[in-house]
Symmetry: C2
Subunit: 324 residues, 2 copies
Amino acid sequence: MSLDGGPRRTERNRAMGVTKYHRITLDTFHYKWSRFHKPVLSVKDGDTVTFEINDVGSWQLNKDSTHADVMTYDPAKGYPLAGPVSIEGAKPGDALLVEVVEVDIADFGWSFIQPGFGLLDEFRKPFLYKWNLENKKSASFENGIEVPLRPFCGVLGVAPRTRGFTEVAPPGRHGGNMDIRHLTAGSWVKIPVWVDGALFSTGDVHAAMGDGEVCGTAIECAGSATIRFGIEKEAGLGFPQFFTKGDKKPERGYFTATGIGPDLMKATKDSVRNMLGYLTKTYGLTAEEAYVLCSVTADVRVHEIVDRPNWVVGTMISRDIFPH
Amino acid sequence: MSLDGGPRRTERNRAMGVTKYHRITLDTFHYKWSRFHKPVLSVKDGDTVTFEINDVGSWQLNKDSTHADVMTYDPAKGYPLAGPVSIEGAKPGDALLVEVVEVDIADFGWSFIQPGFGLLDEFRKPFLYKWNLENKKSASFENGIEVPLRPFCGVLGVAPRTRGFTEVAPPGRHGGNMDIRHLTAGSWVKIPVWVDGALFSTGDVHAAMGDGEVCGTAIECAGSATIRFGIEKEAGLGFPQFFTKGDKKPERGYFTATGIGPDLMKATKDSVRNMLGYLTKTYGLTAEEAYVLCSVTADVRVHEIVDRPNWVVGTMISRDIFPH
């Protein structure tokens, strides 16, 4: 959290031992984003919250479900979110620092193909795949294929600026349903704040997903996430940015700048611009140097391409290349 | 090369020790793709060729060049390709198997920003960055940043079906200027064949590049590439596919199916369809199972987004998940 001259207050609070631990249970959830949702909890910069999280379908699919049940799946019951949590002192223009401490998953998960949903239009039959997640490390698929489990929350977001109630499915400048598979335990994400207190919620636990989430679903499951909050004052952030943990050194891994929107080309440009802003500010590079550096060593990835109408593109750079 | 029931003849030829080694020197190169180029060499399935390769700018930029020289850079002198090599027995409908045995780089490299070229329109001044590649492992950038070198050939392709002469810059169903940074030593790529003998050429050595090549150039340099050829008869391949080598086990790494074209969304769909074709054929999955498997574990990446008008998208899946 102290990276790139970040949140000194957060660090001070932690050093002083004045941070607290909280828990939100499964029975506390809301649908849709809104600045009008009353916070279920108010926490301080530096506090930690464990969110118990219902599966994205609000228990519509379970171990007994069949392919046919995919057709009666009601999207209005989608995205029960745990929260919202108000973070004291967070103001519009700040960035909320969301550190993913831990993500746990239930023993059962599902994936479906629903005609008209997902990347490819040619799939016209409903299809349900049920996963046994008991071993927690990997899940068995057909024909001896074994899928590694890397749990994360598809939704990590704050209340958007808009008035009224907003659908959860499309991600945006408030984060939300970003479906970024890299946000596993040890990672952290910076999300622009739009309303006083930020009003953070999370949901949509995924046991595993590939960048893109091409069929429209990951391994969807219930679970819990433990998250520590911080605030970066007047961050001036346009789109979210995130850091992942290095395999060998936690302070290494990747830094990623996102671009989010309905056009893949524009989202890619926004993501690269977001990266250039970070590189020039953090490492004292000129815009030209930062652009060349991206070209020779940063990777463009499509984190999700199914949460209509907004796609999430990330430009990822290895933190190994930097001297500090 | 024996993966997924591949080229038995290639394996047999190698086992019989009848394969040969060839070399194409720096003075042998051509511009543009064409079925009318006379092959400089004719080789057999299983043969190996070392290609000496000029830098993408045909010596227009060197250690003495300045920012101003970027403005007089002549694109007509771009993409000198080593080749073409005719591979005996390759016919339209087959796939050419291109195994990258080794890629060597010169001691000097360059990257430029040219107004009107590259992903971002707001860069309006020419900019040249010169790289010292002497240590071969990494190259020093500004402010203590060190870029790891992972050499590959930006261009690996065959003559397209079209008559006449075709620009090299845009990649296509003939491979070509795919700028896939993953095609380092140990990887191999399958390219659809469009004319008798395939007429393979290579060029555009890159010492390092990120997926996207966002500013339009990588670390551009001269070098050489050693390539072993094989043929998969009647492969029925729409777009190229490639395998990378695993860090621990060479037979692991990633399998990637590409989609190439002027629309990022369609290229992504084509790339996923290419992957589904491979998964259903190779692992006996239904289309629905393959689609779900992609969603939960394959990654969508943008390999290049600057070789107007065609972008290259890859769907990458770890070979660790498969039983064999």
